[in-house]
Amino acid sequence: MSNGNGHPPLAGGEPGITALTKKDFESNQEVRWCPGCGDYAILRAVQALFPTLGIPRENFVIVSGIGCSSRFPYYMNVYGFHSIHGRAPTFATGLKVTRPELSVWVVTGDGDSLSIGGNHLIHAMRRNVDIKVLMFNNRIYGLTKGQYSPTSERGKVTKSTPYGSVERPFLPLSVALGAEATFVARSVDIYADHLKEVLAAASRHRGAAFVEIYQNCNIFNDGAFEFMTPKPLRDDNQIGLEHGKPLIYGKNHDKGIRLRGVDPEVVDLNAPGARREDLLVHDAHAESPSLAFVLSRLAPPVFPTPIGIFRDVEAPTLDDGMNAQLKDAVAKKGQGSLESLIHAGDTWTVS
């Protein structure tokens, strides 16, 4: 039994760790998203990232729910499970706990993970099970052809809200932080390098990682992120978070963010009296999620949208905890035998 949990050792083909390339991660399935969909870019980024992680190809598993985004596993030449709507974290949890040596990724949409699947998501975060959740947030239900989602803005006109939605949206990162997430980050479909960096960090993180990826659905919610993603707008409307660095942004790096109580405010660094030392310095490793939470609230029009790693802290993982208990129990009581299991308790013999 190879890994102490009763699994037999694996035989079979050669382990595929050496010299993997992007090609090795492309499956033979025709990719079926709408032309122009942001999912393509994310797919390319992940295909480029995986060979660099030092993990044998056969140890990757991608679990998804249902939605356009959740088609993702079909296009990756790794183990994949396209499950049912909203439940991907549950399958991933059972898998990771029993197979801790695997690298388990969940691909999900804003509807899949925050509408029907909200509960599984927050519990995965709370339990800190070592899975990487990539949430493609296009602020719409793509697969079912365009209803508003829990991340759609209030007033949104969609097929199911011809008069505009009357619901307030979630901020997905706030939800994750409120649920004790240990790794929380945000990136954008078309920011290939940034995205890869963030995902690499998620992969390194031991525990549950939640990565919100802004993703353009050019069919049902085109331009949802155009307040920020077009090159000319980026500098003024987005801010890259870096651990240990002050929060500065703007084309000329002349805007910053400082705190007033717990509330952030924008500082014009050119203004008289403005001091760099007053700026908020990002601490992704802060024990408390408070700073990350404060940052998760930043949004236009007043603030730039932060991207990068909001929080990355260590905490015991569910999979470690469960496997340690099994190991400890065996260490203390010895490996249980069927004899001792069945022939236990008050027994008596009839002869």
Binding site: G6, P8, L10, P73, I84, G94, K96, G345
Partner: protein, 621 residues
């Protein structure tokens, strides 16, 4: 109770009995379950066959002394083969008025009633909604009443101890137990041993309870309270090692055993629910057997995690009760489509909705059969008794891993919490069901099939060269690729049905107990086994000719079921539902099944089935 002619070996008259039913009833705080357990252990040690049933109060602890707070324990012990906890108690021990009120109606006419008279103050009576004192009016006329001031006598027996008076009072159950030991000529030694083991660290409690037990015994010896005492000789049980086992324990042990025999780890994903929670509790203690237990956020997550574990190569199991099975429906459909092994166990309880959560019922059969959208067939097995849960669990695991499909096991509240002696199996005799994971990339296809069982290969992620994707969309056969093709879909729908149907090729034929053809077959499934068995046995003794057949496999059923049905003029199917098995049999075999149904949250009485049989055969009792 049948009398034999053996001469009395003790000063007072001793009579022999074949079968005795005792019920201990009191407040939740009165320790009735422990009392019953001890009587059971002693009966087992004396070689009686036995069968027990606790009757817990509903889930919330009601105030002491009230009707909803009553807790009871019934044991049927015998010198013969028995299969139920017994219809009506011969003896009722009532610790307070509430216990009397709730349980009296079940006591046999002329039965022995031991009442703790110390608990019949005005306030006690009021709490039990008695408007007059039943000890003083005509309520108890039909019974042989033995009023005993248990409180006072226990105090007296324990006067040497230094325990608080509250602690002293809490020993009165053992005083009552001592009386029962005297009445049925039971030795006290193994109870002493148990007490001293249990209270290793509190010897004063062990001592106090020992004194109470001895006190009760001595009280009967001294007072001539009873004119007669009884002996129930050892039963003629098959030789071997026995253990008294509850259904939920047997289920847990069966799962662990099967996982071991399959050589894969066991992963239980579960969400607590009455009466299934104890399987989770028990498996949680088996960590040194390599058992993972995961208490999920809900039933969907529980089965989802089990499916995820199955995808990873473990034995995924999920335990629940009816409402939970409903919630698992969608995910089970995914397991059907992805052809992953999975065992879902439904310990049925009274419904619909929250219903009667602490009562028994067997009304989830059709939900198990059809409670998923589209054509999503799964094999269904049902356990027939507490110990049988072990074998049913084992067989379910075998089917799941050998056919690569989800399997449903039905148990119910009655067998889950009931107990019976279990003749322990020889571990080597249990079949080897070891799993061979596919590791060879040569010619591998995710939905290629074993020609006999049509199973697809089980591949553990982490196996190099076998990377593949599965999911809930329709699959092309063999390749496992997504397919919207019309013919393929029709083919796959039929193939999934065929996979289940083929199990019938391997399972044993259903056996008829009694004449192999004739006027009447009583056909059952699940926990009605004991009642039907007892009824048929007693009818046999009366000379009434009737046969019995009991189904463990409900989907598919054994190959010979139709043929057996046609060998009998009438077929009676007693069920604790509105005729669910009857419906399946009628549809399949076009036989005019006589459905006998009762949905009262409690098992059939032997007598009810006997009466029904007599009625159908035109026999007068």
């Amino acid at each position: 109770m049948e009398t034999t002619t053996n001469p009395p070996p003790r000063p007072r008259r001793v009579e022999q009995r074949t079968r005795v039913v005792i019920r201990f009833a009191g407040d939740s705080g009165d320790g009735m379950q422990i009392t019953g357990d001890r009587f059971t252990a002693t009966a087992a040690a004396m070689g009686n066959d036995l069968n027990t049933l606790p009757d817990f109060p509903a889930e919330i602890r009601a105030p002491a002394g009230t009707l909803p707070g009553v807790s009871a324990f019934q044991i049927n012990f015998s010198s013969e083969d028995i299969q139920t906890p017994g219809d009506e108690p011969d003896v009722l021990v009532a610790m307070n008025p509430a216990a009397l009120k709730v349980n009296l109606k079940d006591l046999k006419t002329n039965g022995v009633l031991i009442v703790n008279t110390d608990a019949f103050e005005a306030r006690d009576l009021e709490k039990a909604n008695y408007t007059s004192n039943p000890l003083e009016d005509h309520t108890l006329e039909a019974y042989r009443v033995f009023p005993v001031p248990l409180e006072k006598l226990t105090k007296e027996a324990l006067k040497e101890t230094k325990l608080s008076s509250k602690d002293v009072s809490r020993c009165k159950n053992f005083f009552a137990l001592g009386m029962m030991y005297w009445l049925y000529n039971r030795p006290m030694d193994n109870t002493f041993v148990w007490l001293h083991d249990k209270f290793k660290n509190k010897p004063e409690y062990a001592e106090a309870n020992e004194l109470a037990l001895r006190g009760g015994y001595a009280y009967c010896e001294a007072t001539e309270l009873f004119q007669v005492s009884y002996e129930v000789p050892a039963a003629n049980l098959a030789p071997g090692k026995y253990r008294n086992i509850h259904g939920n324990s047997a289920m847990a042990i069966g799962l662990v055993t099967a996982a071991r025999k399959a050589k894969i780890p066991l992963f239980l994903g579960s969400y607590p629910i009455t009466p299934a929670s104890d399987v989770l509790h028990e498996l949680a203690r088996y960590k040194h057997y390599g058992v993972y237990t995961f208490q999920a956020e809900d039933e969907i997550a529980a089965v989802g995690a089990a499916i995820g574990a199955a995808f990873g190569g473990s034995l995924g199991v999920s335990t629940t009760s009816g409402p939970g099975l409903a919630l698992k429906a969608e995910a089970m459909g995914l397991a059907v489509m992805t052809e992953l092994p999975l065992v879902v166990i439904d310990i049925q309880r009274g419904g619909p909705s929250t219903g009667l959560p602490t009562k028994t019922e067997q009304a989830d059969l059709l939900q198990a059969m059809f409670g998923r959208h589209s054509e999503a067939p799964v094999p269904i097995l049902a356990a027939q008794s507490p110990a049988d849960c072990f074998y049913t669990a084992f067989e379910a695991v075998r089917i799941a891993v050998q056919y690569m499909m989800p399997v449903i096991v039905l148990s119910d509240g009655y067998i889950a919490s009931g107990s019976e002696p279990w003749l322990l199996p020889n571990i080597e005799d249990l079949p080897d069901i070891s799993v061979a994971f596919r590791t060879d990339p040569e010619n591998f296809q995710p939905y290629m099939r074993d020609p006999a069982r049509l199973a697809r290969p089980w591949v553990r992620p982490g196996t190099p060269g076998l990377e593949h994707r599965i999911g809930g969309l329709e699959k092309q056969d063999i390749t496992g690729n997504i397919s919207y093709d019309a013919d393929n879909h029709d083919h796959m729908v039929r193939l999934r049905a065929e996979k289940v149907a083929r199990i019938a090729n391997e399972i044993p034929l259903a056996e008829v107990r009694g004449p192999q053809s004739g006027d009447l077959l009583v056909l059952g499934w699940g926990s009605t086994y004991g009642s039907i068995y007892s009824a048929v046995s007693d009818l046999e003794r009366e000379g009434v000719v009737v046969s019995q057949m009991h189904l463990r496999h409900l989907n598919p059923m054994p190959r010979n079921v139709g043929e057996v049905l046609h060998r009998f003029k009438k077929v009676l199917v007693p069920e604790m539902n509105l005729g669910q098995l009857a419906l399946l049999l009628r549809a399949k075999h076009l036989v005019d099944i006589i459905s006998y149904t009762k949905v009262e949250g409690k098992p059939f009485k032997r007598a009810e089935i006997m009466n029904k049989v007599r009625e159908l055969l035109g026999v007068v009792a």
